[in-house]
């Protein structure tokens, strides 16, 4: 990995992040666009969570992480504090792996 590559990656990564923040910072968008944008973070985070839990490289798998996520879903549904959800999920996953 060369310095040039690192700087190119950094510049590109920043450009991706900045496009939305700077382009939309001052504008006021039509209500429907705003509504659509508002749906995105939660939908993306759920999709990301599913991909992170159920994939190993290019394979779909069910392993200890699935148990951790299941525990998290139950606790989140019961409105447990975030810290409890995270620690419980990690603990269940770690425990299953240690078996």
């Amino acid at each position: 990995m060369t310095w040039t590559a690192i700087l190119v990656l950094a510049a590109g990564a920043y450009a991706l992040k900045a496009t939305g923040v700077i382009a939309l910072g001052r504008r006021s968008l039509p209500g429907r666009v705003d509504d659509a944008l508002a749906l995105l973070p939660a939908a993306l985070l759920v999709s990301l969570s599913l991909v992170q839990t159920f994939s190993a490289g290019s394979r779909l798998v069910v392993d200890a992480r699935a148990a951790g996520l299941a525990v998290a879903v139950v606790l989140a549904w019961r409105r447990a504090p975030l810290a409890v959800v995270i620690v419980a999920a990690a603990a269940v996953t770690a425990a299953l792996r240690a078996l």
């Binding site: 900045a18 429907r32 995105l40 985070l45 969570s49």
Partner: protein, 229 residues
Amino acid sequence: MAVPRAAGSITRDALVISVAVGIFGISFGVLARGAGLSIAQTQAMSLLVFTGASQFAAVGVITAGGSVAAAVGTGLLLGSRNLVYGMSLGRLLAGRWPMRALAAQLVVDETTAMATAQEGVAAGRKAFWVTAIAEFALWNLGTLIGALGGEALTDPEALGLDAAFPAGFVALAAPQLRSAASRTAALAGGLVALSLVPVAPAGLPVLAAALVVVVVSVARAVASRWRAP
């Protein structure tokens, strides 16, 4: 609409997330050194790229013998969801341009999750910045420790931390899933993302989910306009 969170819980939540991020940072530091990066290069990646998924992916490609170009390309693909986050956070982070330019560097999964989980702009901004500061500090501190340490000091997977992030994201997204529209979007996006895992390169499944959500929103808007002209 998110539900209000207790005062003080923003800081606590941000710290919990950032400690987990910091431990992964140690792992990144070790892996980057293992891929042949210098300590300075390793730290520069965490300071300047500041996107865990991109950094791990890029270093992974190098370790697997891939080209530098492939490493950068993969890293950028994995950073593409930050573009979508930025678009959704843009209004929340409105302000003078120096502040927006700084905020942009900090738009990642965790800051977005914390910001959007709050009710109201003020709480959302506080959550964004508190999480950003804690996460930036601990990610970089972790990277430094890993880069200097040489050997793996901790194994995030043995601690179950790879399950901690999905758990945290789901918990933070939960309050926003109270409407039928948001649940439909999440379900559609999730199914598309999972179905693409076996066939698409890393980063693409989640990006495709974003596209699906946009298509679903447009379809709903068109359908409602058609039903009640």
